[in-house]
Subunit: 389 residues, 2 copies
């Protein structure tokens, strides 16, 4: 087991009706809130009114900024920073999914910083402070509600960069499974793929003696695999949604990193897909992950056999462990397809003509290597993407 | 799944050599520390000198109070409160196991309180504040290093009461598996029983739809079951100790309570054993838990079958699930015996003549019921203890 430091400050307020606590919880951090959200769905569903009512009751005033898109954009972040400064905002309340939360985190970093917030994402500067961010989660997927990271897309060059810093960990997050009932099926599936990917990025490690976290990750994966079909079949299945929502949070709150170093190459490759083609992150991951696995599984056949047996219930072939490993990977891909996700780039409407460009971008033209489990060069990324056309 | 609120502020600093960070971490909370510990073992092992060196380097001054006993006593807590007030201590650094940490938490509550700190344990008052507590853990067992609870024994009447409050959650805890290498085998076994008990108290619940936490608890139990024999066979097995130590912390940091309500009757019964006979907490639990299980298993045979199959690898008898359940309970008891713990009260040197008195104390002579999974009366507790003579 590797040495580690673990802490997570996010107060999780989980369950039916918990959005009514937004106001009193915000009040602990100030009286001026930026309400940040995406489209009109929270107004149609009544959630917006419930939050506003809760803020009013607690004596918290707010300004609002909607319009966050999937793969959230730097330009809206800039707008949010200006608004927060002008209105002297104390706290940003993100109401939405990972894109809204990530956008909120970027705004929170930008408000007290004199330069451009992109400096942090492009590793040109380190922040000293940030506004507190809180969330009301509507989409179980990104895990941003209790994570220390944020991913933003800069339209100037379509660069999609992540940034990680403890300052970004939300101070509280409200998780009500009922808020997910109205999600479109495709978005549910993309969310499940995102959660599974967060677990798999951590699972595939070279660290030895990580039995506890191996077991915790596998238990979380099995929970997602069992419950995603249930919520797709019956979108108002509260209990199944509760399992998916809590799994999505646990998958990415850093507990499951403890003592191990994850891979993250598949995320790196997928970021290039969604930067160039604006595909849904989860759908991109559903295509990239099985392709990545088939490229690297011989690096640690035992771990892939364990994945097949413990997560997917594959019967172990003691004399042909490679077949067991490959069957596990196929089960993963079949799962993604069964919940409505594509199995190749064509299914994402991504042609094969810019694979070289994406592989170059993902590896800085071989200036750096991608991933930790296996360190990938440009040729590896090219091969992975070509295997997925 | 039940609604819940979850947060845990403890910063975990885990791994080899991490005790050298004690000073710099203490410095974040002040410059005057009470160093609280048990016997002379930390001086013999060199740990005391390492901590003092780290405090000195960070410019943190300290006073010390040793002498904490297993089942920590209120009288020493009173002494610690006086000392902290006199020396204007900012932070209490517990160096030891659960008893030292629980004693530190009680002192932390007492310092800013005008009355007797026992008022909190006896539910006569609620604290408004407490000094921060930090820990350097030497015994993986109680989980107090990241928990919000403390158990103290009042010599006046030999009452052993627990108290739970978020104020008691340590601000940081240093977990170095190497510090456990020199523990006596019996203490190792008691620690493992304590960890298993924390997991089982949470596992046996009437809450429905708690798949994720069921899976997480089972994974943690399996890790403890696999690794305890390894550390007993080879006390310097760092990796196995790392699994046990991290499991012991995760078992009791409240994550595994989320969405469910645990039982805690076995802890209540064991508290009476150790209050009257001063037995080791873990040893008492090893006797009480299987007896409790055989008394209640018919309340939810499916959960006990799951316990047998998922935790102990018992082959399911589809037509006689009660046999599967009982085999799981037997496996638990066999495990405790295999690591050197007693299987009955006689093995704890507890005679049968005060069972009625203990059952009375545990249930307030039937004024209250013990436990949540099954609510036990005095007759139940009597039957459980009699079955374990």
């Amino acid at each position: 087991m590797e040495n580690f430091t673990y802490s997570n400050r996010t107060k999780i307020i989980f369950g039916d009706g918990t959005q009514s606590r937004a106001g009193e919880e915000c009040k602990l951090f100030g009286t001026r809130v930026l309400l940040h959200f995406g489209g009109q769905s929270i107004k149609k569903s009544g959630l917006y009114d419930q939050i506003v009512d809760s803020l009013n009751k607690a004596g918290v005033t707010f300004v609002e900024l909607g319009g966050v898109q999937p793969n959230p954009r730097l330009s809206l972040v800039h707008e949010g920073v200006e608004l927060c400064r002008k209105e002297k905002v104390d706290l940003i309340l993100a109401v939405g999914g990972g894109s809204v939360i990530d956008s909120s985190k970027a705004i929170a970093l930008g408000v007290p910083y004199e330069g451009d917030v992109w400096d942090f994402y492009s590793q040109k500067a380190q922040p000293k402070r940030a506004l507190p961010v809180a969330t009301v989660l509507t989409i179980p997927a990104a895990g941003s509600e209790a994570s220390d990271s944020s991913v933003i897309t800069n339209e100037d060059g379509w660069q999609k960069f992540g940034y990680t810093n403890g300052l970004l960990t939300p101070v509280f997050s409200i998780l009500n499974p009922r808020l997910a009932f109205t999600l479109p099926a495709y978005q549910v599936a993309c969310g499940a793929a995102d959660i599974m990917s967060h677990l798999m990025e951590r699972y595939f490690t070279n660290a030895r003696s990580v039995e506890l976290t191996d077991g915790l990750i596998e238990a979380t994966m099995r929970t997602v695999i069992r419950n995603t079909p249930r919520v797709l079949a019956k979108p108002d299945n509260y209990d199944a949604w509760a399992e998916v929502m809590w799994s999505g949070c646990v998958a990415h709150n850093n507990l499951l990193d403890t003592g191990r170093i994850g891979d993250w190459a598949s995320h790196g490759i997928e970021h290039e897909l969604s930067a160039l083609y604006d595909v849904a992150h989860g759908a991109g991951l559903a295509v990239v992950f099985p392709a990545w696995m088939r490229h690297v599984y011989l690096h640690d056949i035992n771990r892939f056999v364990r994945f097949a047996v413990e997560v997917w219930g594959v019967e172990k072939d003691y004399f042909n462990p490679d077949l067991t490993a490959l069957e596990g990977i196929q089960k993963l891909q079949d799962f993604f397809v069964s919940i409505g996700l594509p199995h190749n780039l064509a299914g994402l409407k991504i042609p094969a003509d810019r694979i070289d460009e994406m592989a170059s971008r993902a590896t800085g033209d071989d200036k750096w290597r991608l991933g930790n489990f296996v360190k990938l060069g440009k040729a590896d990324v090219t091969a992975i993407l070509k295997s997925a056309v």
